[in-house]
Amino acid sequence: MKTSEPILSLRNVRKYFGGVKAVDGVSFDVYPNRITGLIGANGAGKTTTFNLITGFYKPDEGDILYKGERINGLSLHQTFHKGLCRTFQISRELKLMTVLENLMLVPPDQSGENLLKTWFMPGVVRREEIKNRDKALSILESVGLLHLKDEFAGNLSGGQKRLLELGRTMMAGAEMILFDEPGAGVNPTERKTLAARIRSLVDNQNITVLLIGHEMELVMDICNPIIVMDWGKKLAEGTPDEVANNPEVLEVYLGGSKK
């Protein structure tokens, strides 16, 4: 199963908030071109783990290695520039900006982000904008939001916001994407389409995915391996079958009624 070097490694990572051990000594590896699942109950520390990886929080202890490089202590925008892109549990979109603007914001290091260049090198800025616009339009077409390109992002439905989020990760040109509950608030049927799109990101664009999910059918279907967290610790790790039959996981997480 371990065909290559891990792209991301956590080594004994801890994060405490006051007295609460949100993440309590977690270690795992994520291998390239796979969808690794991260499951566990609310409060198990999954989202905090994401926040630690992407630099939203600094770990109190332990190391986070991305492609062999220690990245703990970098901030959110710095990990983005390393090639890590994340989504959020509750869709966040830039509400009073259009769908197209939401995507055009994403490409890193745009020369038009330098105020002096917007005044003195308008030609360069313009050419780049046209390039980014065309890329954004083609992504919108592929996720099926092209007809909404001039709509305010805040006016999209729950499912459309998830698609916009997906488009955003495609726009980022990231090597690894961390999805925080991409299926939340999406009905079971739409969820299947979403799963297929995530699958195709991995298969066709050599992207690595780490995914937090609550919907067992989604996670069991597309993730391998799966990591189970409970009370800030890693409880189990393995293939979907191994996890589903792990007695400890059955007891504290899945319960008897599940397969």
Partner: protein, 318 residues
């Protein structure tokens, strides 16, 4: 003739206020930075330009006026120095406050502006303390006779307004402005999209503050006299907020419109109050404006939360 003169001096002040509104719009309208300390940047700009362009007092005057320096430089140098000084102060303010939440930023800037005013009031060695500075040089003043000077100055401030307007519009409609608006909408999201939020907020704060510094300098040279009392929160900060809120937050044209409307109400009300109110009450009459601007602000907020002109749907130009 009197009415025309009145109108021209009204227009000069409305134009200067339009410049302040543009500065605030960069900070609040496009980035969501609650700057309640405009008066502080206003004061820094005005005093810097005054100190750069005036000469050190000599002779008998030196006994009554103390100031740290007087470089006697040209008007334009004063304005540029005002922008730079105001920008530097904003970097200091930003370093202290930009990591705080939005409400905290508002109160911190309010406090800093008050502190700046207290500083100018207390430290007489710097700019003559509470008496302030008088006799600021006026550019091109020998071009026309003094009673027509406002006409010349109106042209000068209009040129400044036009240049600043174009520069701000260029910036806002480019990817730079897009990042600012993204920060306004959702800071964390902008950060997750790889933008260095603190750095961009700092840029917005500094650009806005430099514009306010220029506004302060233009005001100082027009009135030719400044003292700390001018830079109180009503005249220096809240009237500008009223203008932007009325005109339309996040819309530069709307902001300028708001500046002209509010300043019209403000200056006409002085005139009207003076006519209507009996002479025995004259000392208290100016305070009717306090009530007026207060009630106006409430009515605007309650009736037109988005202002006269709202933000356009598509801001980026590509």
């Amino acid at each position: 003739m009197g009415l025309l003169n009145f109108f021209i001096s009204f227009a000069v002040m409305a134009t200067i206020y339009s410049i302040f509104v543009l500065g605030l719009n960069v900070q609040w309208g496009y980035t969501g930075l609650l700057n309640f300390g405009i008066a502080g940047f206003f004061a820094v700009g005005a005093y810097t330009s005054a100190l750069f362009t005036m000469h050190m007092p000599t002779g008998a005057l030196a006994n009554y006026v103390t100031q740290a320096f007087g470089l006697g430089m040209p008007f334009l140098v004063g304005v540029i120095a005002a922008a730079i000084a105001s920008g530097l102060v904003s970097i200091l303010v930003g370093a202290l406050t930009l990591r705080l939440g939005e409400g905290y930023l508002a109160i911190a800037t309010l406090g800093i502006a008050e502190s700046i005013r207290i500083f100018f009031n207390n430290e007489s060695w710097l700019a003559n303390g509470p008496q302030g500075l008088v006799g600021l040089p006026q550019p091109l003043h020998n071009l026309v006779s003094p009673q027509y000077y406002s006409y010349v100055y109106l042209v000068i401030v209009l040129i400044f307004l036009a240049v600043i307007y174009i520069a701000v519009e260029k910036g806002i409609r480019s990817p730079w402005g897009r990042v600012l608006r993204a920060i306004r909408e959702d800071e964390i999201m902008a950060n997750a999209d790889g933008k260095n939020v603190v750095f961009f907020k700092m840029q917005s704060l500094v650009v806005g503050a430099m514009i306010m510094g220029i506004g302060g300098a233009l005001y100082a040279h027009y009135s030719a006299a400044i003292q700390p009392g001018v830079f109180e929160a009503l005249f220096g900060t809240f009237i500008i907020w009223t203008m932007l809120t009325l005109g339309g937050t996040g819309n530069n044209k709307g902001g300028i419109l708001g500046a002209w409307i509010v300043w019209a109400i403000w200056s006409w009300s002085t005139y009207l109050i003076a006519k209507v109110v009996p002479a025995s009450f004259a000392t208290r009459a100016p305070f009717i404006r306090y009530v007026l601007i207060g009630v106006l602000l409430i009515v605007i907020i309650v009736r037109f939360p988005k202002g006269i002109m709202g933000e356009e749907r598509q801001v980026s130009k590509f």
